[in-house]
Protein backbone atom coordinates (compact mmCIF):
# COMPACT_ATOMS: atom_id res chain seq x y z
CA UNK A 1 0.00 0.00 0.00
CA UNK A 2 1.32 3.48 -0.68
CA UNK A 3 1.29 5.57 2.45
CA UNK A 4 -1.01 8.50 1.75
CA UNK A 5 -0.37 10.53 4.88
CA UNK A 6 3.39 10.42 5.09
CA UNK A 7 3.49 13.94 6.42
CA UNK A 8 1.89 12.68 9.63
CA UNK A 9 4.69 10.22 10.28
CA UNK A 10 8.07 11.29 11.52
CA UNK A 11 10.87 10.77 9.02
CA UNK A 12 12.80 8.46 11.31
CA UNK A 13 9.83 6.08 11.44
CA UNK A 14 9.74 5.64 7.68
CA UNK A 15 11.90 3.20 5.73
CA UNK A 16 12.48 4.08 2.07
CA UNK A 17 14.08 1.80 -0.45
CA UNK A 18 15.14 3.14 -3.84
CA UNK A 19 14.99 -0.27 -5.46
CA UNK A 20 13.28 -3.12 -3.72
CA UNK A 21 12.19 -6.53 -4.91
CA UNK A 22 10.06 -8.61 -2.60
CA UNK A 23 9.41 -12.26 -3.50
CA UNK A 24 10.25 -11.51 -7.11
CA UNK A 25 7.98 -8.46 -7.35
CA UNK A 26 9.56 -5.06 -8.05
CA UNK A 27 8.11 -2.60 -5.49
CA UNK A 28 10.27 0.45 -6.26
CA UNK A 29 8.86 3.97 -6.02
CA UNK A 30 5.98 4.79 -3.69
CA UNK A 31 5.42 1.14 -3.01
CA UNK A 32 8.84 0.83 -1.43
CA UNK A 33 8.09 2.99 1.61
CA UNK A 34 7.30 1.26 4.87
CA UNK A 35 6.42 2.37 8.38
CA UNK A 36 8.92 1.06 10.84
CA UNK A 37 7.47 -1.43 13.28
CA UNK A 38 7.40 0.10 16.68
CA UNK A 39 6.68 -1.58 19.98
CA UNK A 40 6.06 0.67 22.94
CA UNK A 41 6.64 -1.01 26.26
CA UNK A 42 7.84 1.74 28.50
CA UNK A 43 4.49 3.30 29.36
CA UNK A 44 4.56 5.40 32.49
CA UNK A 45 1.42 4.22 34.27
CA UNK A 46 1.50 7.08 36.75
CA UNK A 47 2.06 9.95 34.32
CA UNK A 48 -1.56 11.15 34.48
CA UNK A 49 -1.53 10.91 38.28
CA UNK A 50 1.71 12.92 38.36
CA UNK A 51 0.21 15.74 36.30
CA UNK A 52 -3.07 15.62 38.24
CA UNK A 53 -1.14 16.04 41.50
CA UNK A 54 0.30 19.39 40.39
CA UNK A 55 -1.73 22.63 40.49
CA UNK A 56 -3.73 23.05 37.30
CA UNK A 57 -3.59 19.42 36.22
CA UNK A 58 -6.45 18.18 38.41
CA UNK A 59 -9.02 17.76 35.62
CA UNK A 60 -6.89 16.10 32.98
CA UNK A 61 -8.78 12.80 33.32
CA UNK A 62 -11.92 14.47 31.96
CA UNK A 63 -10.51 14.96 28.46
CA UNK A 64 -12.24 13.19 25.58
CA UNK A 65 -9.89 14.42 22.88
CA UNK A 66 -12.21 16.70 20.93
CA UNK A 67 -9.27 18.95 20.06
CA UNK A 68 -11.05 22.25 20.75
CA UNK A 69 -8.08 23.39 22.84
CA UNK A 70 -5.56 22.98 20.04
CA UNK A 71 -8.02 24.42 17.55
CA UNK A 72 -8.34 27.69 19.46
CA UNK A 73 -4.77 27.87 20.79
CA UNK A 74 -2.87 31.15 20.35
CA UNK A 75 0.53 29.49 20.26
CA UNK A 76 -0.56 26.63 18.01
CA UNK A 77 -1.37 29.25 15.38
CA UNK A 78 2.29 30.28 15.45
CA UNK A 79 3.78 26.82 15.88
CA UNK A 80 1.78 23.71 14.89
CA UNK A 81 4.02 21.58 17.14
CA UNK A 82 2.44 23.30 20.14
CA UNK A 83 -0.44 20.87 20.53
CA UNK A 84 -2.26 20.70 23.90
CA UNK A 85 -4.71 18.02 22.77
CA UNK A 86 -1.85 15.72 21.74
CA UNK A 87 0.08 16.27 24.96
CA UNK A 88 -3.01 15.52 27.03
CA UNK A 89 -3.41 12.33 25.00
CA UNK A 90 0.20 11.30 25.59
CA UNK A 91 -0.07 12.01 29.32
CA UNK A 92 -3.29 10.04 29.65
CA UNK A 93 -1.87 6.93 27.98
CA UNK A 94 1.50 7.36 29.70
CA UNK A 95 3.77 7.93 26.70
CA UNK A 96 6.35 9.85 28.61
CA UNK A 97 9.10 9.57 26.02
CA UNK A 98 6.93 11.08 23.30
CA UNK A 99 5.88 13.92 25.60
CA UNK A 100 9.48 14.74 26.45
CA UNK A 101 10.23 15.36 22.77
CA UNK A 102 8.32 18.64 23.13
CA UNK A 103 9.88 19.66 26.42
CA UNK A 104 11.41 22.81 24.93
CA UNK A 105 8.08 24.38 23.96
CA UNK A 106 5.41 23.30 26.48
CA UNK A 107 6.24 26.24 28.77
CA UNK A 108 5.39 28.69 25.99
CA UNK A 109 1.65 28.66 26.81
CA UNK A 110 0.69 32.33 27.23
CA UNK A 111 -2.34 31.65 29.50
CA UNK A 112 -4.78 33.39 27.15
CA UNK A 113 -7.40 30.92 28.44
CA UNK A 114 -9.01 30.37 25.04
CA UNK A 115 -8.70 26.59 25.54
CA UNK A 116 -10.20 26.70 29.01
CA UNK A 117 -13.08 28.79 27.67
CA UNK A 118 -13.95 26.41 24.83
CA UNK A 119 -13.26 23.07 26.53
CA UNK A 120 -16.60 21.23 26.74
CA UNK A 121 -15.31 18.99 29.53
CA UNK A 122 -13.77 21.60 31.87
CA UNK A 123 -10.33 20.04 31.58
CA UNK A 124 -8.79 23.51 32.10
CA UNK A 125 -6.04 22.86 29.52
CA UNK A 126 -4.27 26.12 30.45
CA UNK A 127 -3.70 24.65 33.92
CA UNK A 128 -2.63 21.30 32.44
CA UNK A 129 0.02 23.08 30.35
CA UNK A 130 1.35 24.78 33.47
CA UNK A 131 1.33 21.52 35.45
CA UNK A 132 3.12 19.73 32.61
CA UNK A 133 5.78 22.44 32.34
CA UNK A 134 6.35 22.20 36.10
CA UNK A 135 6.47 18.42 35.93
CA UNK A 136 9.23 18.57 33.29
CA UNK A 137 11.23 20.88 35.54
CA UNK A 138 10.64 18.93 38.76
CA UNK A 139 11.65 15.69 37.07
CA UNK A 140 14.79 17.36 35.79
CA UNK A 141 13.98 16.93 32.08
CA UNK A 142 14.39 20.65 31.47
CA UNK A 143 16.10 23.47 33.28
CA UNK A 144 13.79 26.17 34.57
CA UNK A 145 12.25 27.97 31.58
CA UNK A 146 12.57 31.74 31.23
CA UNK A 147 8.86 31.90 32.12
CA UNK A 148 9.44 30.01 35.38
CA UNK A 149 12.37 32.27 36.23
CA UNK A 150 10.19 35.32 35.59
CA UNK A 151 7.36 33.87 37.70
CA UNK A 152 9.79 33.25 40.54
CA UNK A 153 11.38 36.70 40.44
CA UNK A 154 7.92 38.26 40.33
CA UNK A 155 6.37 36.08 43.01
CA UNK A 156 9.28 36.46 45.40
CA UNK A 157 8.81 40.26 45.30
CA UNK A 158 5.10 39.90 46.01
CA UNK A 159 5.66 37.42 48.81
CA UNK A 160 8.38 39.52 50.41
CA UNK A 161 6.85 43.03 50.11
CA UNK A 162 3.21 42.63 49.11
CA UNK A 163 3.78 44.71 45.96
CA UNK A 164 6.05 44.63 42.95
CA UNK A 165 8.26 47.27 41.40
CA UNK A 166 8.73 46.93 37.65
CA UNK A 167 12.24 48.33 37.36
CA UNK A 168 13.75 45.84 39.80
CA UNK A 169 11.66 43.07 38.31
CA UNK A 170 13.05 43.62 34.81
CA UNK A 171 16.62 44.08 35.97
CA UNK A 172 16.57 40.95 38.10
CA UNK A 173 14.99 38.92 35.32
CA UNK A 174 17.46 40.06 32.66
CA UNK A 175 20.32 39.36 35.05
CA UNK A 176 19.08 35.87 35.98
CA UNK A 177 18.60 34.90 32.34
CA UNK A 178 21.96 36.32 31.32
CA UNK A 179 20.52 39.04 29.07
CA UNK A 180 21.79 42.54 28.59
CA UNK A 181 20.30 44.93 31.13
CA UNK A 182 19.87 47.52 28.41
CA UNK A 183 17.93 45.93 25.56
CA UNK A 184 18.39 48.15 22.47
CA UNK A 185 14.69 48.36 21.60
CA UNK A 186 13.80 49.28 25.17
CA UNK A 187 16.45 51.98 25.46
CA UNK A 188 15.05 53.86 22.46
CA UNK A 189 11.53 53.76 23.88
CA UNK A 190 12.57 54.97 27.29
CA UNK A 191 14.73 57.72 25.83
CA UNK A 192 11.70 58.97 23.86
CA UNK A 193 9.60 58.88 27.01
CA UNK A 194 12.12 60.81 29.10
CA UNK A 195 12.44 63.50 26.40
CA UNK A 196 8.72 64.22 26.79
CA UNK A 197 9.50 65.23 30.39
CA UNK A 198 6.87 63.33 32.33
CA UNK A 199 8.05 64.85 35.61
CA UNK A 200 5.42 63.19 37.79
CA UNK A 201 6.06 59.76 36.34
CA UNK A 202 9.85 60.09 36.59
CA UNK A 203 9.62 61.24 40.19
CA UNK A 204 7.39 58.33 41.13
CA UNK A 205 9.57 55.81 39.29
CA UNK A 206 12.68 57.31 40.88
CA UNK A 207 11.16 57.07 44.32
CA UNK A 208 10.10 53.46 43.94
CA UNK A 209 13.55 52.62 42.59
CA UNK A 210 14.96 53.97 45.86
CA UNK A 211 12.28 52.66 48.20
CA UNK A 212 10.54 49.45 47.20
CA UNK A 213 6.76 49.93 47.28
CA UNK A 214 5.37 47.72 50.01
CA UNK A 215 2.23 46.73 51.82
CA UNK A 216 2.34 47.70 55.51
CA UNK A 217 2.22 45.06 58.24
CA UNK A 218 3.02 42.38 55.71
CA UNK A 219 5.35 40.20 57.80
CA UNK A 220 2.61 37.85 59.03
CA UNK A 221 1.49 37.36 55.44
CA UNK A 222 5.04 36.78 54.32
CA UNK A 223 5.53 34.05 56.91
CA UNK A 224 2.15 32.43 56.24
CA UNK A 225 2.92 32.29 52.50
CA UNK A 226 6.44 30.92 53.03
CA UNK A 227 5.14 28.18 55.30
CA UNK A 228 2.41 27.25 52.81
CA UNK A 229 4.87 27.11 49.90
CA UNK A 230 7.18 24.78 51.81
CA UNK A 231 4.25 22.46 52.59
CA UNK A 232 3.01 22.45 49.00
CA UNK A 233 6.45 21.83 47.55
CA UNK A 234 6.90 18.81 49.79
CA UNK A 235 3.46 17.50 48.77
CA UNK A 236 4.21 17.87 45.06
CA UNK A 237 7.59 16.22 45.30
CA UNK A 238 6.14 13.37 47.31
CA UNK A 239 3.39 12.84 44.71
CA UNK A 240 6.05 12.59 42.00
CA UNK A 241 8.15 10.17 44.07
CA UNK A 242 10.98 12.68 44.44
CA UNK A 243 12.98 13.20 47.66
CA UNK A 244 11.08 15.82 49.66
CA UNK A 245 14.04 18.05 50.32
CA UNK A 246 14.76 19.96 47.16
CA UNK A 247 18.41 20.06 46.20
CA UNK A 248 19.43 23.58 45.28
CA UNK A 249 19.65 24.14 41.56
Amino acid sequence: MPILSKHLIRDENLIRNENLVIEGVDVSGDWSTFIKTRVVQDYNDSLQEDIAALPGGENIHRCWQCGSCTNTCTINALNPDFNPRYWIYLIRIGMEEELIRDKEIIWQCVSCNKCTSVCPRDVMPEGVMRATAHWLELKGYTPESPATIFDKVFSSQVFAKGKIEEGRLMMRFFKKTGQKLTQDWLVGLIRGLVLRLPIGLLTRMGLSALIHPRTRDWSNHRMAIAEYITEQKALHRKALGLPTTEESR
Binding site: L78, V110, S111, T116, A147, F154, E166, L189, I225, I229
Partner: protein
Protein backbone atom coordinates in the same frame (compact mmCIF):
# COMPACT_ATOMS: atom_id res chain seq x y z
CA UNK B 1 -28.05 58.34 35.32
CA UNK B 2 -28.37 55.99 38.27
CA UNK B 3 -26.81 56.04 41.68
CA UNK B 4 -25.10 52.76 40.96
CA UNK B 5 -21.30 52.80 41.25
CA UNK B 6 -21.15 56.55 41.89
CA UNK B 7 -18.83 55.91 44.84
CA UNK B 8 -16.74 52.76 44.71
CA UNK B 9 -13.57 51.35 46.22
CA UNK B 10 -10.63 51.77 43.86
CA UNK B 11 -7.92 49.16 43.36
CA UNK B 12 -5.23 50.56 41.04
CA UNK B 13 -2.70 47.73 41.43
CA UNK B 14 1.06 47.71 40.91
CA UNK B 15 1.12 48.42 37.17
CA UNK B 16 -0.92 51.61 37.55
CA UNK B 17 1.41 52.78 40.29
CA UNK B 18 4.38 52.06 38.04
CA UNK B 19 4.80 52.28 34.28
CA UNK B 20 1.07 52.57 33.56
CA UNK B 21 0.63 55.67 35.68
CA UNK B 22 -1.01 57.44 32.74
CA UNK B 23 -3.88 54.94 32.99
CA UNK B 24 -4.17 55.65 36.71
CA UNK B 25 -4.10 59.39 36.14
CA UNK B 26 -6.62 59.36 33.29
CA UNK B 27 -9.00 57.04 35.17
CA UNK B 28 -9.03 59.38 38.17
CA UNK B 29 -9.38 62.50 36.00
CA UNK B 30 -12.29 61.03 34.04
CA UNK B 31 -13.97 60.01 37.30
CA UNK B 32 -13.55 63.51 38.68
CA UNK B 33 -14.87 65.09 35.50
CA UNK B 34 -17.94 62.86 35.58
CA UNK B 35 -18.58 63.42 39.28
CA UNK B 36 -17.76 59.86 40.30
CA UNK B 37 -15.93 59.17 43.53
CA UNK B 38 -13.06 56.72 43.90
CA UNK B 39 -11.77 55.73 47.33
CA UNK B 40 -8.49 53.85 47.10
CA UNK B 41 -8.24 50.54 48.98
CA UNK B 42 -6.15 51.11 52.08
CA UNK B 43 -2.87 49.26 52.13
CA UNK B 44 -3.70 46.94 49.23
CA UNK B 45 -1.34 44.24 47.96
CA UNK B 46 -0.44 42.89 44.52
CA UNK B 47 -3.13 40.62 43.02
CA UNK B 48 -0.49 38.13 41.85
CA UNK B 49 -0.89 39.12 38.19
CA UNK B 50 -0.12 36.29 35.74
CA UNK B 51 2.77 34.96 37.77
CA UNK B 52 1.75 33.97 41.30
CA UNK B 53 -0.86 31.55 39.95
CA UNK B 54 2.01 29.63 38.41
CA UNK B 55 3.75 29.40 41.76
CA UNK B 56 0.42 28.30 43.26
CA UNK B 57 -3.10 29.25 42.12
CA UNK B 58 -4.47 29.26 45.66
CA UNK B 59 -1.90 31.82 46.76
CA UNK B 60 -3.27 34.10 44.08
CA UNK B 61 -6.74 33.51 45.53
CA UNK B 62 -5.44 34.40 48.97
CA UNK B 63 -3.77 37.61 47.78
CA UNK B 64 -6.91 38.76 45.97
CA UNK B 65 -9.18 37.73 48.84
CA UNK B 66 -7.18 40.03 51.11
CA UNK B 67 -7.94 42.99 48.82
CA UNK B 68 -11.64 42.10 48.70
CA UNK B 69 -11.65 41.92 52.48
CA UNK B 70 -10.16 45.41 52.69
CA UNK B 71 -12.96 46.73 50.46
CA UNK B 72 -15.51 45.05 52.70
CA UNK B 73 -13.93 46.41 55.88
CA UNK B 74 -13.96 49.91 54.39
CA UNK B 75 -17.70 49.53 53.99
CA UNK B 76 -17.83 49.05 50.22
CA UNK B 77 -19.80 46.46 48.29
CA UNK B 78 -18.07 47.29 45.00
CA UNK B 79 -14.40 47.49 44.07
CA UNK B 80 -13.34 48.89 40.71
CA UNK B 81 -10.13 47.99 38.95
CA UNK B 82 -9.00 49.40 35.60
CA UNK B 83 -6.31 46.72 35.21
CA UNK B 84 -7.41 43.54 33.46
CA UNK B 85 -5.01 41.46 35.54
CA UNK B 86 -6.30 42.79 38.86
CA UNK B 87 -9.91 42.67 37.68
CA UNK B 88 -9.48 39.09 36.47
CA UNK B 89 -7.80 37.93 39.65
CA UNK B 90 -10.34 39.49 42.00
CA UNK B 91 -13.15 37.95 39.94
CA UNK B 92 -11.37 34.60 39.91
CA UNK B 93 -10.85 34.68 43.67
CA UNK B 94 -14.56 35.46 44.12
CA UNK B 95 -15.46 32.57 41.83
CA UNK B 96 -13.11 30.09 43.50
CA UNK B 97 -14.25 31.03 47.00
CA UNK B 98 -17.87 30.62 45.96
CA UNK B 99 -17.40 27.29 44.16
CA UNK B 100 -14.37 25.46 45.49
CA UNK B 101 -14.13 24.10 49.01
CA UNK B 102 -10.36 23.54 48.79
CA UNK B 103 -9.79 27.22 47.89
CA UNK B 104 -12.00 28.30 50.79
CA UNK B 105 -10.04 26.08 53.19
CA UNK B 106 -6.66 27.31 51.97
CA UNK B 107 -7.65 30.97 52.18
CA UNK B 108 -9.04 30.39 55.68
CA UNK B 109 -5.85 28.64 56.76
CA UNK B 110 -3.56 31.31 55.30
CA UNK B 111 -5.62 34.16 56.75
CA UNK B 112 -5.52 32.48 60.14
CA UNK B 113 -1.74 32.13 59.96
CA UNK B 114 -1.42 35.76 58.84
CA UNK B 115 -3.59 36.67 61.84
CA UNK B 116 -6.36 38.23 59.75
CA UNK B 117 -10.00 37.46 59.05
CA UNK B 118 -10.64 35.55 55.81
CA UNK B 119 -12.85 37.07 53.11
CA UNK B 120 -16.20 35.34 52.54
CA UNK B 121 -17.52 35.08 48.99
CA UNK B 122 -20.44 37.30 48.04
CA UNK B 123 -19.59 40.42 50.04
CA UNK B 124 -17.93 42.55 47.38
CA UNK B 125 -18.56 42.84 43.65
CA UNK B 126 -15.57 43.46 41.41
CA UNK B 127 -16.08 45.66 38.37
CA UNK B 128 -13.83 46.92 35.59
CA UNK B 129 -13.38 50.62 34.78
CA UNK B 130 -15.51 49.93 31.67
CA UNK B 131 -18.44 48.63 33.76
CA UNK B 132 -17.97 51.56 36.12
CA UNK B 133 -18.39 54.34 33.54
CA UNK B 134 -21.01 52.43 31.57
CA UNK B 135 -23.24 51.77 34.57
CA UNK B 136 -22.65 54.91 36.62
CA UNK B 137 -22.90 57.33 33.68
CA UNK B 138 -24.15 55.47 30.64
CA UNK B 139 -23.66 56.30 27.00
CA UNK B 140 -26.55 58.80 26.75
CA UNK B 141 -25.27 60.96 29.61
CA UNK B 142 -21.70 60.63 28.38
CA UNK B 143 -22.72 61.88 24.93
CA UNK B 144 -24.17 64.97 26.55
CA UNK B 145 -20.96 65.71 28.42
CA UNK B 146 -18.65 65.53 25.41
CA UNK B 147 -16.86 68.86 24.88
CA UNK B 148 -14.30 67.86 22.30
CA UNK B 149 -15.68 65.06 20.15
CA UNK B 150 -13.37 62.29 18.96
CA UNK B 151 -15.04 62.73 15.57
CA UNK B 152 -12.94 61.45 12.72
CA UNK B 153 -10.66 59.37 14.93
CA UNK B 154 -10.60 55.78 13.72
CA UNK B 155 -10.32 53.44 16.68
CA UNK B 156 -9.79 49.70 17.05
CA UNK B 157 -11.07 48.53 20.44
CA UNK B 158 -8.80 45.94 22.00
CA UNK B 159 -9.91 44.10 25.15
CA UNK B 160 -7.36 41.30 25.47
CA UNK B 161 -7.70 37.97 27.27
CA UNK B 162 -8.16 38.63 30.94
CA UNK B 163 -11.31 40.72 30.60
CA UNK B 164 -13.43 38.01 29.02
CA UNK B 165 -11.93 34.58 29.70
CA UNK B 166 -12.44 31.92 30.89
CA UNK B 167 -16.21 31.61 30.52
CA UNK B 168 -16.66 30.17 34.04
CA UNK B 169 -15.67 33.48 35.56
CA UNK B 170 -17.03 35.74 32.82
CA UNK B 171 -20.24 34.06 31.70
CA UNK B 172 -22.28 35.24 28.73
CA UNK B 173 -25.39 37.25 29.48
CA UNK B 174 -27.63 34.27 28.89
CA UNK B 175 -25.58 32.15 31.28
CA UNK B 176 -25.83 34.07 34.50
CA UNK B 177 -23.68 37.06 33.65
CA UNK B 178 -26.63 39.44 33.35
CA UNK B 179 -24.53 42.53 33.79
CA UNK B 180 -21.24 41.41 32.30
CA UNK B 181 -19.77 42.20 28.93
CA UNK B 182 -19.96 39.55 26.22
CA UNK B 183 -17.18 36.97 26.19
CA UNK B 184 -17.06 36.62 22.45
CA UNK B 185 -17.99 40.10 21.30
CA UNK B 186 -17.26 42.56 24.09
CA UNK B 187 -18.58 46.01 23.26
CA UNK B 188 -18.59 48.19 26.40
CA UNK B 189 -15.50 50.11 25.29
CA UNK B 190 -16.84 50.42 21.73
CA UNK B 191 -20.08 51.87 23.12
CA UNK B 192 -18.34 54.42 25.36
CA UNK B 193 -15.93 55.60 22.68
CA UNK B 194 -18.72 55.78 20.08
CA UNK B 195 -20.63 57.99 22.51
CA UNK B 196 -17.53 60.18 22.68
CA UNK B 197 -17.65 60.53 18.92
CA UNK B 198 -14.99 58.05 17.85
CA UNK B 199 -15.34 56.10 14.65
CA UNK B 200 -14.88 52.48 15.70
CA UNK B 201 -13.50 50.17 13.05
CA UNK B 202 -14.57 46.54 12.77
CA UNK B 203 -11.65 44.85 14.53
CA UNK B 204 -11.69 41.04 14.57
CA UNK B 205 -8.93 40.66 17.17
CA UNK B 206 -10.70 42.35 20.08
CA UNK B 207 -9.99 39.45 22.42
CA UNK B 208 -6.87 37.98 20.81
CA UNK B 209 -3.80 37.53 22.98
CA UNK B 210 -0.85 39.97 23.04
CA UNK B 211 1.44 37.44 24.73
CA UNK B 212 1.59 39.64 27.80
CA UNK B 213 2.32 36.75 30.14
CA UNK B 214 5.65 36.16 28.38
CA UNK B 215 6.37 39.66 27.24
CA UNK B 216 9.95 39.44 28.50
CA UNK B 217 10.45 35.69 28.94
CA UNK B 218 9.47 34.78 25.35
CA UNK B 219 9.85 38.09 23.58
CA UNK B 220 9.86 36.76 20.02
CA UNK B 221 6.47 35.10 20.51
CA UNK B 222 5.06 38.28 22.04
CA UNK B 223 6.45 40.40 19.23
CA UNK B 224 4.84 38.15 16.62
CA UNK B 225 1.48 38.22 18.43
CA UNK B 226 1.61 42.00 18.87
CA UNK B 227 2.69 42.60 15.29
CA UNK B 228 -0.37 40.65 14.17
CA UNK B 229 -2.60 42.85 16.34
CA UNK B 230 -1.00 46.03 14.99
CA UNK B 231 -1.00 45.16 11.30
CA UNK B 232 -4.59 43.90 11.52
CA UNK B 233 -5.65 47.14 13.21
CA UNK B 234 -4.00 49.10 10.42
CA UNK B 235 -5.60 46.89 7.77
CA UNK B 236 -8.96 47.67 9.40
CA UNK B 237 -8.23 51.35 9.00
CA UNK B 238 -7.52 52.17 12.63
CA UNK B 239 -5.30 55.11 13.63
CA UNK B 240 -5.51 54.28 17.32
CA UNK B 241 -5.84 51.08 19.32
CA UNK B 242 -7.88 51.82 22.43
CA UNK B 243 -6.80 49.68 25.38
CA UNK B 244 -8.19 48.91 28.82
CA UNK B 245 -5.33 46.84 30.27
CA UNK B 246 -1.87 48.08 31.30
CA UNK B 247 -0.16 44.80 30.38
CA UNK B 248 -1.68 44.77 26.89
CA UNK B 249 -1.05 48.48 26.41
CA UNK B 250 2.60 48.39 27.40
CA UNK B 251 3.06 45.10 25.56
CA UNK B 252 1.75 46.69 22.36
CA UNK B 253 3.99 49.72 22.83
CA UNK B 254 7.13 47.75 23.65
CA UNK B 255 6.71 45.13 20.97
CA UNK B 256 5.81 47.72 18.35
CA UNK B 257 9.25 49.17 18.98
CA UNK B 258 10.82 45.73 19.18
CA UNK B 259 9.18 44.59 15.93
CA UNK B 260 10.76 47.57 14.20
CA UNK B 261 14.22 47.07 15.73
CA UNK B 262 14.42 43.28 15.67
CA UNK B 263 12.12 42.20 12.80
CA UNK B 264 12.40 45.38 10.71
CA UNK B 265 8.60 45.71 10.62
CA UNK B 266 7.34 49.24 11.13
CA UNK B 267 3.76 50.02 12.11
CA UNK B 268 2.38 53.45 12.88
CA UNK B 269 -0.92 52.82 14.70
CA UNK B 270 -0.95 54.53 18.13
CA UNK B 271 -1.97 53.13 21.50
CA UNK B 272 -4.08 55.07 23.98
CA UNK B 273 -5.95 53.99 27.10
CA UNK B 274 -9.70 54.35 26.62
CA UNK B 275 -9.76 56.63 29.67
CA UNK B 276 -7.29 58.94 27.93
CA UNK B 277 -9.56 59.13 24.87
CA UNK B 278 -12.65 59.67 27.02
CA UNK B 279 -10.84 62.31 29.08
CA UNK B 280 -9.86 64.32 26.02
CA UNK B 281 -13.42 64.04 24.69
CA UNK B 282 -14.66 65.41 28.02
CA UNK B 283 -12.44 68.45 27.55
CA UNK B 284 -9.29 67.46 29.45
CA UNK B 285 -5.95 68.25 27.86
CA UNK B 286 -3.63 65.55 26.53
CA UNK B 287 -1.25 66.34 29.35
CA UNK B 288 -3.97 66.06 32.00
CA UNK B 289 -4.70 62.50 30.87
CA UNK B 290 -0.99 61.68 30.79
CA UNK B 291 -0.46 61.18 27.04
CA UNK B 292 3.16 62.30 27.55
CA UNK B 293 3.62 59.51 30.11
CA UNK B 294 2.83 56.73 27.64
CA UNK B 295 5.80 54.81 26.30
CA UNK B 296 4.77 55.50 22.71
CA UNK B 297 4.34 59.02 21.41
CA UNK B 298 0.92 59.80 19.96
CA UNK B 299 1.00 63.58 20.37
CA UNK B 300 1.34 64.48 16.71
CA UNK B 301 -1.68 62.38 15.72
CA UNK B 302 -3.74 63.90 18.51
CA UNK B 303 -2.73 67.40 17.49
CA UNK B 304 -3.67 66.63 13.91
CA UNK B 305 -7.11 65.53 15.14
CA UNK B 306 -7.53 68.61 17.24
CA UNK B 307 -7.26 66.69 20.49
CA UNK B 308 -3.80 67.77 21.63
Amino acid sequence: MSNKYRKVAYYPGCALEGGASSYNRSTKEVGKKLGLELVELENWNCCGAMEVKNADPKLQTFLSARNLKIAEDMGFDTVMSPCNGCYHNLKKAEYDLAHDEASRETVKKLAHRAKTEPYQAGKVETIHALDWIRDAIGTDELRKQVRNSLKGLKVANYYGCMYTRPRHIFPEKDQGGANSDSTYRPHFMDDLLAAAGAENVEYPLKTACCGGAHTLSDSDTSTRLVLNLLTTAEACGAEVIATECPTCHQGLEMHQARAEKVFGKKTKVKMLYFTQLLGMALGLSARQVGVHENLSDSRSLLKEKGLG
